[in-house]
Symmetry: none
Subunit: 249 residues, 2 copies
DNA sequence: CAGTGGTCTAGACCACTGG
DNA sequence: CAGTGGTCTAGACCACTGG
C-alpha cells in the first residue's frame, strides 16, 4: 500500500490528511472489506508523524464505520454493507429509490443574516449571510415532508436566484458549485406538526411527524448545510442501514 | 465544583473514571445546561492527570452529546432536550451515557414458537423457539420506552429464567453467553401508541411515539435479536452519528 | 514471543474567543 | 491580553491476540 507523504506546512491537520488518504484507498478498492490496514505504529513511522496523530486519523474513520478495531489483532476495513447503505441520501434520491416521482414546491428562498445557532453549526462569521430555503417535498405529487435548509451563501453565491422547484438541491450543489455532500449527522425524533406544517402536509395537529435535524458535510468535512426535515409520520419510515453499536460505558 | 481524586490503581481507566464523575455532576444538576465545565487544563491539574487524559474523558462525553466544545471559549453542558446522541447502543448504555439511571420492568419473558416474520429475520428453523421479551424501559424511574425483543433460544438457553429486571440484556448476553452485539440495522418512524403502550408510557393515544424496528448482529453477522422499541416522543431523540450519504444519482 | 490497540505522561505551538 | 480547545511530539507500560 502506498501512502503519500503528508504536507506538514498545510493548513489541513496531518491526521485529516491521513484520514482522507485512507478513505480514498478504501473507496478506490485498494483496501477491500476485511483487509487489515497498517497499524498505528506502521503509519506513524512510514509517514513520520507521531503515533497519536495516526491514531487520531484512524479514530475519525472509526466514527464513520468505515473500519473497525480489534485489540491485539489490528484494524480492518468494514464490510461495505456495514456502512453506506441508502440510509441518508438526498430527499430526491431517497424518494426516487423508493419508486416515486420526487418533487418540491419552494415556499421560501432568501438570503438572511445568520442566526447564532446556525452560525455555530456552520462555523460561520458573525456577519455572513445564509440562504434560507423552505420547501414542501412531494412524492408522486403528494406532500410528504417540509424541509428547512440553511446554507452559507459564501459557498453557493447566486443560489438564491436559482430555480429549485422540482430540482435536487444536491445536484445543483454538485453541478454548479462543485460541492459534493458526503456525510450527514442527524438527530431524529417524533413530534407533532406546527399549525403551518399541518396545513402544508394536509394532516391534523395531533398526527405524528418524524423530525430529522441534520448537518451535511463534504468528504473533507466542510459543513454544507443545516437542515430540518419534517416528515408526515404516516407516509414514511427511515432506514438506518447498519449502525455500529457504541458500547462504551 | 468538587471532583474526587481518581484511583490510579483501579482497573477502570482514569479517563473513564473522570468521564463518569462528570456525567454524575450533570445528572445531579451540579452542572446545568449551558454551564461551562472546567477546562482540560484545570481538570488535569486538579486531578493530577495529563491533559490528554482529561481530554479523552471530555471526548467520551462529546460522543454522547452531553456536552459541546467551542474553540477559544470552553466546553459546555448541552441542552438536555437537544442532545440525544448515541442512538444506537444498548438501551441501558444509551440512557446511562445521557446521565440517567436506566431501569426496566419485565412485562413478559417467555419461550414461544417462532412466527414467520421472526423466522425469516433471524434465519431460524421452523420448529425453533424464541424468547419473547417485553420490557418497560425507564430513565430515572420514568417510563420512556417499551421494548419488544425476540431472541433465538438456541443461542441463549436458560435466558427465560434469568432475572432481567433492571439489568442490561446485552451485558447478560456478553457475560453469560459470550455473545457480543456489534451492529444494528433499523427502521425508524413516527407513529401513535397502541392503547396498551399509551397506558404503559403514561401518555395520550394521540401523542407521538418514535418506533424503531431493529435487528442486531454480532461482528460476524450472526443475528442476535429482533427488537422493536417504542419511545415516548416527548422524552427522547435519537442521534444517528455520521452517515455516509448514498451516492446513487 | 512479537505485534496490536488501549491508556497515559509531560511537554509544545497554534488559532480562536473574550475582555 | 490570558484562557480555551485543536493539533502534535516522543516517549512509556498495559492487556490482549496469534503463532
Amino acid at each position: 500500500m502506498e501512502l503519500n507523504t503528508l504536507d506538514k506546512g498545510s493548513h489541513t491537520p496531518l491526521y485529516l490528511q491521513l484520514a482522507r488518504q485512507l478513505i480514498r484507498q478504501i473507496q478506490s478498492g485498494v483496501l477491500k472489506p476485511g483487509d487489515k490496514i497498517p497499524s498505528e505504529r506502521e503509519l506513524s513511522e512510514s509517514l513520520n508523524v507521531s503515533r497519536i496523530t495516526s491514531r487520531q486519523a484512524i479514530e475519525s474513520l472509526l466514527k464513520s464505520g468505515l473500519i473497525y478495531r480489534e485489540q491485539g489483532r489490528g484494524t480492518f476495513v468494514a464490510e461495505s454493507k456495514m456502512h453506506g447503505i441508502q440510509g441518508f441520501s438526498s430527499f430526491t434520491e431517497d424518494i426516487r429509490s423508493r419508486g416515486y416521482q420526487p418533487g418540491s414546491k419552494v415556499i421560501k428562498q432568501e438570503l438572511v443574516p445568520v442566526d447564532e445557532k446556525c452560525r455555530q453549526k456552520l462555523k460561520m462569521g458573525p456577519d455572513e449571510l445564509v440562504l434560507h430555503l423552505v420547501r414542501l417535498r412531494l412524492a408522486d405529487g403528494e406532500p410528504i415532508a417540509i424541509q428547512y435548509t440553511h446554507l452559507p451563501s459564501r459557498i453557493c453565491p447566486g443560489l438564491e436566484n436559482e430555480d429549485l422547484e422540482n430540482r435536487s438541491l444536491f445536484s445543483v450543489l454538485r453541478d454548479r458549485y462543485f460541492i459534493h455532500p458526503a456525510w450527514t449527522e442527524a438527530e431524529v425524533r417524533a413530534s407533532n406538526p406546527t399549525p403551518e406544517e399541518a396545513d402544508l402536509l394536509g394532516i391534523g395537529l395531533d398526527e405524528p411527524v418524524l423530525v430529522v435535524d441534520g448537518v451535511t458535510f463534504t468528504e473533507s468535512f466542510d459543513m454544507v448545510e443545516v437542515v430540518r426535515t419534517v416528515y408526515n409520520g404516516k407516509s414514511i419510515s427511515l432506514y438506518m442501514g447498519r449502525q455500529r453499536l457504541g458500547l462504551l460505558v
